[in-house]
């Protein structure tokens, strides 16, 4: 799990962040202001500063925030000038938006705030719907508005072209003031809360920011999303009373606290209405004492009353945002915050420490107990700075104890401020903004965005700072003038200048905490609680001696006896078997695995399955050394797996076995245990040991299981039987090269890099085996039919499909009876309407059609009699595998430079596409550091979806609109290349996926119904059809063409996702001759790009050339 940040503000207004990977708080040094409140999400943190303005700190990412501005230039033909900007009076503006209704010349585009910068100048877009246009980018039509084409015809009277310019958000990793364009903002802000990112679909990244003003009004920030982190404007939301504090969860929960102590719940928040529609009042948990603070998550609401008591709201869910009742909890807090996964954080009323709620899980949202975070300060720093500041503090040895403001959680800083203002007035001592003496050296000058000039603050007292006087004051104070003591103590109390406000043994006094960006779950071991630096046990002699003796013991007792047989564990048992004859069903069988040593010392084995047929005892067997693959098969109630041998692969009919599902005897995944045993036995008999070689072929099944196979030198000649064994983890795609760099992408788009470990978690070599997780969605459909009386209802015709069904309509799938794909998966969300369906939906997610099954569209017409909508629910799997996460950018495709095994490269080129469609180039990838160091963003004019890099550094990519691009000048020295070349697609085809071998380029199109494979004739840059019904294509350096085919007919059944291998591919015959059908069905992805063991060939290898020079590349064979 990548590290994330917990944000907090101490009572002196300093902002700190604590990384889940770190062991101490990091103070935000560049913040020149004190802050009142922070509210964090994963990608940024919002804050209210003491000037009551709102500041935003966007965490820097390898992918910049780029916003595309576009405008259209329109022209009309006339016989005199040809095409010119002289338009008819009835025409649109010469410069307009796409509809032509809005006048927008190039110079009308302004940067929205000083936090943005232009990336480059305006340029003309020469891509028209996936096809390259003529130079100049004009598209032609008969008249405005009409259908545009890229070719000029005899009747083309008008033309237009699109201009593009990108602006970039530049104020990352710093506190940037959020522009408040409206002068009408009446009063300063008092509280903010950010959330709502789960209401809409991820790609846009919409977010809600709610704010409360000092007068108790509630404001909503409009239009915050990934590409517009600042939002655009404030909108007031009417409230029935004066609000003091508000909390917004990640989902659709928003609660607020009224001055009088009641609570408000916002109703009607949804995808189309993030602001919600109305308020409902909920009474304070305790009749005498009003509520003072509320914190909401996705499914929880916590509140604090004025007596610091903590309350948990029962019965909260998306249908009932108000919940049903309060439960009093243990602990006294001044404030509470709910973060990611409904994790709860609090600040203790007594000690002002930050508390983390332990044991919060989806099943037990209220958690178990409060645990205080250790103070987590660098002890060295604390000591040194304490000594450094000692002279300054010296004068107040007998001064009154530092004043800890008596805080009620509504707004203690204002109290603090007013308190201080009073004191200032009394002794007329200005407050030093900086410690001029000790900090000038290491502190950068205040950032421009932060300088609060006297004119900008609404709070004029804050700007009358006289630094000069402060300096002299401090100097005098240091001289411990008794008369100054009281005022000095006030300085020390608020401590605006001192590096370290707390003594070495004190812990910080916290005022506010925000866990909205902090991901902690039960698996992550927080390093906060086990700071081991001071643990003497780590270095004790007895400990060292135990380590030494144990390793001596291993040497003595084991090293010389490795040839002894290991004991054998389980060998017999009962299982269920999917029987071979009709009617097919699960029958109870006994199985036995007999292992013996072969004459040559190799381990052999036979698997017997004993069954009865017509009351006659029979058995079937499989020789372990003939097994090609053992595949776990998902089933919602059983642990099942399939055993393939070459013969059974040919028949497409494996031996299917299931572990007993009787819950009483079910121990720890018995299915996978027996599977593990069989796998071990197969590996033994094949002599497979240790991690996969660099040449290994990797594949992923459609269930996400990862398999690896060692290629034999004769792979090209006879690829089967290959032996596949499973590697832990769960992925969707996988890529590798011959230097052992292997990357995978999970269903949740998380990028993983192979860490060099192997096997399951249960072996001794698993230092590189980690917990891995994956999340995917399960979909069901709600179907309805129209009738003239009641409109659409869930009453269908008797012949109709189930009213709740799977996509095909054949299977009944209700919300209640749909289970996660297998017992390994657990639900992590509730059912939600999925609007992201091809064909589009209406506002409630419905798709309409004339009848089931038909093609669905997103709006109702007169001819439509049925409708359906898709519901999605997320489930999560936690496995162990040799994978290390590569945070933080989620990916959808990745490609790695294929190279010869012997070759030495300084840097392995690796390109990827983020799930938002950004093209990325990874820097610092070497065989030793396969994860690389950072992403380099490669600009594109549109989102991309597939990418592949060939043996000669040629990078090809497919954009979302189906057009193909080639990246020029990519080399070792210039890993990101210089510019994109748009290559025409096959006529009338939208490409979906591309793969590049040494010089050949293949691509798969996707026109909805069928998918076809094309290969590029690199001599003339035209595409030719190679094969139909192809899902995935993978090329290796060695002219190997592998595909995953859609439909292949076998003797027993039709199988989808069959791995096939093209035979007869030659340099001069890139099309090949025929397909060889591979290892059964059910595969999602395969990569053979690591396999570069070249069979000896009579001709010398191809010279590697740039594709620009490919035309002349003639090979003698």
């Amino acid at each position: 799990m990548p590290s994330s940040l917990l944000w907090a503000v101490d009572v002196f207004g300093r902002v700190y962040s604590l990384s889940t990977a770190a062991q101490q708080w990091d103070q935000c040094k560049e913040a020149q202001l004190e802050f009142k409140r922070v509210t964090a999400v994963q990608q940024c943190c919002w804050a209210i500063a003491c000037d009551h303005q709102i500041y935003l700190n966007v965490h820097a990412s390898d992918v910049p925030i780029r916003y595309k501005e576009e405008t259209y230039e329109n022209q009309r033909w006339n016989p005199v000038d040809g095409f010119s900007d002289r338009l008819l009076p009835s025409d649109r503006w010469q410069w307009s938006d796409m509809t032509g209704l809005k006048h927008q010349p190039l110079d009308s585009f302004q940067l929205p705030s000083e936090n943005w910068e232009w990336e480059a100048d305006w340029y003309v877009d020469e891509n028209f719907g996936g096809e390259p246009t003529e130079k100049g980018g004009w598209t032609y039509a008969i008249d405005f508005p009409a259908a545009y084409t890229k070719d000029k015809k005899w009747n083309s009277c008008v033309r237009r072209r699109r201009w593009i310019r990108y602006r970039r958000y530049k104020a990352c990793n710093t506190w940037a003031k959020v522009p408040s364009e409206q002068a009408g903002l009446p009063d300063p802000f008092n509280d903010i809360s950010c959330g709502g990112w789960e209401i809409s679909d991820e790609p846009r990244g919409q977010m809600s920011l709610w704010a409360v003003s000092l007068q108790g009004k509630v404001w909503f920030r409009e239009d915050i999303h990934h590409l517009n982190p600042e939002g655009s404007s404030w909108v007031e939301v009417q409230v029935p009373g004066e609000v003091v504090q508000i909390s917004c969860g990640a989902g659709d929960l928003v609660w607020a606290v009224l001055w009088e102590g009641q609570l408000l719940v916002r109703e009607g928040i949804g995808r189309d209405c993030p602001k919600g529609s109305s308020w409902v009042v909920v009474e304070s948990p305790s009749p005498e004492v009003g509520a003072i603070h509320v914190a909401v998550g996705v499914n929880v609401v916590w509140a604090v009353t004025k007596d610091h008591k903590v309350w948990f709201r029962r019965g909260i869910n998306s249908h009932n945002p108000c919940g049903s009742g309060w439960i009093g909890m243990v602990g006294e807090m001044v404030m509470i915050n709910v973060g990611l996964s409904d994790q709860v954080w609090g600040i203790g009323a007594e000690d002002r420490a930050i508390y983390m709620r332990q044991g919060v899980t989806a099943n037990e949202l209220s958690g178990k107990a409060w645990k205080a975070l250790p103070s987590l300060r660098d002890s060295d720093r604390a000591h040194s700075s304490a000594s450094a500041t000692a002279p300054l503090l010296h004068g107040q040895a007998d001064a009154p104890k530092p004043l800890i403001p008596k805080v009620t959680s509504d707004s203690f800083i204002s109290e603090l401020v007013s308190d201080r203002d009073r004191r200032e007035g009394a002794v007329s001592t200005p407050i030093p903004e900086e410690d001029q003496g000790s900090e000038q050296d290491d502190k950068a000058p205040p950032a421009l965005v932060l300088s609060h000039s006297p004119s900008c603050g609404p709070d004029p007292q804050w700007s009358n700072v006289d630094l000069e006087e402060a300096q002299t004051h401090l100097a005098v104070g240091a001289a411990s003038d008794a008369a100054e003591t009281s005022s000095l103590s006030s300085v020390a109390t608020y401590n605006l200048g001192l590096e370290e406000p707390y003594g070495p043994d004190e812990h910080p006094l916290w005022a506010w905490v925000s866990g909205g960006g902090c991901a902690v779950d039960s698996h992550s071991q927080l390093s906060w609680f086990n700071s081991s630096a001071g643990d003497p046990a780590q270095t004790a002699a007895w400990r060292k001696q135990i380590f030494e003796q144990l390793s001596e013991r291993s040497k003595r007792e084991m090293d010389n006896f490795r040839h002894y047989e290991q004991t054998v564990w389980v060998k017999k048992g009962t299982m269920q078997w999917w029987r071979d004859w009709k009617p097919h069903k699960w029958v109870d069988v006994r199985f036995a695995l007999e292992q013996y040593c072969g004459t040559d010392g190799s381990k052999e084995g036979i698997l017997f399955i004993y069954y009865t047929f017509n009351e006659e005892k029979k058995y079937l067997h499989a020789f372990i050394n003939e097994v090609t693959i053992l595949v776990p098969v998902l089933s919602d109630s059983k642990h099942t797996f399939a055993i393939y041998t070459p013969e059974r692969t040919k028949q497409r009919w494996p031996i299917r076995l299931a572990a007993e599902s009787d819950s009483d005897t079910q121990c720890w995944c018995p299915g996978s245990l027996q599977l593990a045993l069989l796998t071990m036995s197969c590996c033994d008999s094949r002599g497979v040991q240790g991690p996969p070689s660099k040449q290994a072929i990797w594949s992923v099944t459609c269930k996400g299981d990862i398999f690896v196979s060692e290629p034999s030198p004769s792979l090209e000649a006879s690829p089967y039987p290959m032996f596949w064994h499973q590697i832990g983890g769960h992925l969707r795609t996988i890529e590798c090269n011959s230097l052992g760099v292997v990357w995978g992408i999970g269903c949740d788009h998380t990028a993983w890099v192979y860490s060099g470990g192997y096997g399951e978690s249960d072996n001794q070599y698993n230092a590189n085996v980690h917990f891995t997780t994956d999340v995917k969605s399960v979909y069901i459909y709600e179907n309805q039919r129209w009738n003239p009386v009641t409109g659409y209802t869930n009453r269908g015709l008797p012949t109709d499909r189930y009213m709740w069904s799977d996509a095909s309509g054949l299977q009944e799938c209700t919300k209640a009876n749909t289970k996660p794909p297998s017992p390994h998966w657990t639900w992590v969300s509730d059912w939600t309407i999925d609007y992201n369906v091809s064909g589009g939906t209406d506002r409630e997610g419905w798709q309409y059609a004339a009848d089931f099954p038909a093609s669905y569209h997103g709006s109702k017409t007169l001819k439509d009699f049925v409708r359906r909508r898709r519901w999605a629910r997320k489930c999560k799997i936690t496995t162990t595998g040799p994978w290390q996460e590569v945070p933080p950018i989620p990916l959808c495709d990745v490609t790695i430079l294929p190279c010869m095994a012997q070759s030495k490269v300084e840097q392995v080129l690796l390109w990827a596409i983020s799930n938002k469609g950004d093209v990325l180039c990874r820097l610092g990838v070497t065989p030793e550091t396969p994860a690389g160091t950072s992403w380099l963003h490669v600009g594109t004019d549109q989102p991309f979806k597939s990418i592949s890099i060939g043996g000669a550094h040629q990078v090809w990519a497919i954009a979302r609109d189906g057009s193909a691009f080639y990246r020029g000048s990519v080399s070792q020295q210039n890993p990101a290349g210089d510019c994109w070349y748009h290559i025409p697609s096959p006529p009338r085809q939208k490409l979906k996926q591309v793969s590049v071998g040494r010089t050949s380029v293949y691509a798969v199109d996707d026109n909805g119904q069928s998918r076809n494979l094309h290969y590029l004739n690199v001599y003339v840059f035209t595409w030719a059809l190679a094969c139909i019904n192809v899902n995935i294509i993978v090329l290796s350096l060695l002219l190997q063409v592998w595909i995953i085919a859609d439909k292949v007919q076998g003797s027993h059944s039709l199988s989808c996702g069959t791995v096939c291998h093209r035979l007869g591919v030659q340099p001069m015959e890139p099309k090949g001759q025929s397909w060889d059908y591979g290892i059964g069905g059910g595969w999602d992805h395969i990569t053979v790009r690591g396999n570069s063991l070249e069979a000896p060939t009579p001709h010398s290898p191809l010279p590697l050339r740039n594709p620009e020079g490919m035309n002349g590349n003639v090979v003698q064979s």
Partner: protein, 275 residues
């Protein structure tokens, strides 16, 4: 610096090379070859000797095969002791491999328990875990576990699945931080020369003044003779898992890291080799 988790791994994956020889009185049809095996230290003999039985049965008449039992230098080996304990107690300081005689008749009723099936071992193993937890947490943890959790402990041991076992055993090793350790340390001290099978007493991991108790403190109270005298003469070796931890080792740490899967610290005290 190595991780404490590595200790758990080393302990779990300890193996003793063993040579099984058929006792000369057993009647065979042809000569029985010795059988070599790496025995896991943390397991129990009947769990891992299926192959040994098969190997010797091949040369014997079915009628001559009774319940199998093992003997080392005249001592019948108790199957309900972990293998590592048997080796440390009787055979440490001997040359490897460990040479064990295999018997199929004359079962020594007075010395050994019968072991008709693995479920007997399971029952014994689980009762040890429960006893240990009664000492450590008043049985609170083990009672809170579900039946499948108990099964997971047992299956983990039976199938040599370290992670499976420790995923559950971790819970048995937890204790409240403020108390500094378990309530009592589950330990047993064995010696060859004694008539008593083992010594077991209530012993707290932390002294009344808050100092952690060490292995030396435990021995001082339970078996003072094992502590080297002032003259430096070492009369006894104190063995756990084939190693001799220093007497300064905190007993709580030992209990967490060097306990056998049954959650007991099985400590062998054997006479020091006189060389």
């Amino acid at each position: 610096m190595a991780d404490d988790k590595d200790v758990l791994r080393d302990v779990w994956f300890g193996r003793i090379p063993t040579c099984f020889t058929l006792y000369q009185d057993e009647i065979t049809e042809r000569e029985a070859e010795p059988f070599y095996l790496l025995l896991p230290r943390v397991s129990y003999l009947p769990l891992v000797t299926d192959k040994v039985r098969k190997h010797f049965q091949k040369v014997m008449k079915p009628d001559d095969v009774g319940e199998m039992w093992f003997e080392y230098e005249g001592t019948p080996l108790k199957w309900h002791y972990p293998i590592g304990l048997l080796f440390d107690l009787y055979a440490s300081n001997t040359t490897l491999p460990w040479s064990i005689f295999v018997h199929f008749k004359n079962f020594p009723q007075q010395d050994l328990l019968h072991c008709p099936s693995n479920s007997v071992i399971e029952a014994h193993f689980m009762s040890s875990i429960k006893e240990a937890d009664a000492l450590k947490h008043k049985g609170a943890v083990v009672n809170e576990m579900q039946k499948k959790d108990h099964k997971q402990l047992w299956m983990g041991l039976q199938n040599d699945k370290f992670d499976q076992f420790w995923a559950m055993n971790r819970k048995l090793m937890e204790y409240p931080t403020e108390e500094g350790g378990f309530r009592y340390i589950p330990f047993r001290i064995y010696q060859v020369t004694s008539n008593r099978p083992f010594i077991q007493k209530l012993f707290r991991p932390v002294a009344s003044d808050g100092c952690p108790h060490t292995l030396g403190d435990l021995l001082k109270e339970v078996f003072p003779a094992a502590i080297p005298q002032n003259d430096g003469q070492k009369k006894y070796q104190v063995m756990i898992h084939g190693i001799e931890p220093m007497l300064e080792t905190p007993i709580q740490w030992l209990s967490e890291h060097l306990s056998y899967p049954d959650n007991f610290l099985h400590i062998s005290i054997i006479p020091a080799p006189s060389d």
